[in-house]
């Protein structure tokens, strides 16, 4: 594998295998669960930074330690889009329900 780890010097190289992926996904879920607890959707928004640091710093560190760098930003962004998609989905279902009630 052509992977020179000097860019991510503070972190060991991410070995892309089943165990590593599982570990990464699990720590991601832990981290997101913690964010849910403190009602934070966007982990990227700078406004939330201090709140996340105060409440979920261990989960965040673990998540960032266990996942490849490109995955970290991908999962963070995905959390926001998933949340939005979920909202749209719920609204559509609600509209459908109301339309059915009117009938």
């Amino acid at each position: 594998m052509v992977w020179i780890p000097f860019v991510s010097s503070s972190k060991p190289e991410f070995k892309n295998n089943r165990e590593a992926r599982k570990l990464c996904w699990e720590s991601r879920d832990e981290y997101f669960k913690c964010l849910d607890k403190i009602d934070i959707i966007s982990p990227i928004d700078p406004k939330n930074k201090s709140k996340i640091k105060a409440n979920c710093s261990t989960e965040e560190n673990k998540f960032e330690q266990n996942c490849a760098n490109s995955w970290i930003s991908y999962f963070k962004e995905k959390r926001i889009t998933d949340y939005r998609n979920n909202l749209i989905q719920k609204k559509m279902e609600q509209d459908q329900l109301e339309a059915d009630m009117k009938k």
């Binding site: 594998m1 020179i4 295998n17």
Partner: protein
């Protein structure tokens, strides 16, 4: 349709005609004194004799004509139904291929597999293949999809349906044959990983209508993700496209769709 029905129904209209004529002539003949003596009834007035004779004649011929009518009617109905069925089937077959299958795959290509062996479009002949595009650094979707593919392959092999599973990378810069070999160890052992030069992969993706965006020149060590469309492509033994399978299908429904598509293919080819 109209031509066929008219031809079928024609005998039904024509045939019963001589029958009715026969009925009449017989009735008249019995009343004439010229008829054979043994045929002439004994006793009774001329009028009553005529009435009974006429009645008897009708009674004698009615079951026969009814039977004849039913026979001809039934026969033409059966022919009509048979022709109709045949035409319906032809129409159905026509409609299925009428709109044309999308131009996916079927063109020549030359890539290399995870063992460094050449793999071309000719290696897709004489067997069904299932093609998936992804990349080994894919965070969550590809591994899930490849696990699902493994389930399908196991499920289908129980029915003796063998597919050639192919994983084509959209990230040739990082996915060398060695990387693919290491990556695919985690999945179904039958899966063949394909890579090549950026140009080769670009051509391959283009013929499968796969959208992907890989930066062409990446500095070593620089991390990036590849955006790509996520579909499985089921290909026939001539290397031509049969159907796509999307993310909405799970371990069971996906295998079912492949099974049905292959049965349907075998039925029509």
């Amino acid at each position: 349709m109209l031509r066929l029905t008219r031809r079928n129904w024609l005998p039904l209209i024509k045939k019963p005609l001589p029958f009715t004529r026969l009925l009449h002539t017989n009735a008249i003949r019995y009343n004439t004194p010229k008829s054979h003596l043994s045929r002439q009834p004994i006793g009774g007035s001329q009028a009553s004799r005529t009435r009974t004779r006429r009645f008897e004649n009708v009674e004698f011929n009615a079951p026969l004509s009814i039977a004849f009518f039913l026979f001809v009617g039934g026969l033409s109905y059966a022919i009509f139904e048979y022709q109709k069925n045949k035409m319906d089937k032809e129409q159905e077959k026509e409609s299925r291929k009428g709109y044309g299958t999308p131009q996916i795959g079927g063109h020549p290509f030359k890539l290399i597999d995870q063992d460094g062996k050449e793999f071309s479009d000719k290696d897709m002949l004489n067997k069904f293949s299932i093609v998936y595009f992804g990349f080994s650094h894919c965070p969550d979707i590809c591994p899930d999809e490849l696990d699902k593919l493994g389930c399908w392959l196991d499920d289908l092999s129980k029915d003796r349906i063998e597919l050639q599973p192919l994983f084509v990378t959209c990230d040739p810069a990082r996915d060398s044959p060695e990387v693919l070999k290491e990556y695919l160890k985690d999945f179904h052992p039958g899966i063949r990983g394909l890579t090549g030069t950026y140009e080769d992969i670009k051509q391959m993706c283009k013929q499968y209508r796969v959208y992907f965006s890989t930066p062409e020149h990446v500095k070593p060590g620089q991390e990036y993700l590849v955006d790509h469309s996520i579909f499985f492509y089921l290909m026939d033994p001539q290397g031509k496209f049969i159907t796509i399978l999307g993310r909405n299908l799970d371990e069971l429904t996906g295998a079912e769709k492949i099974r049905e598509s292959i049965w349907e293919y075998k039925r029509t080819h």
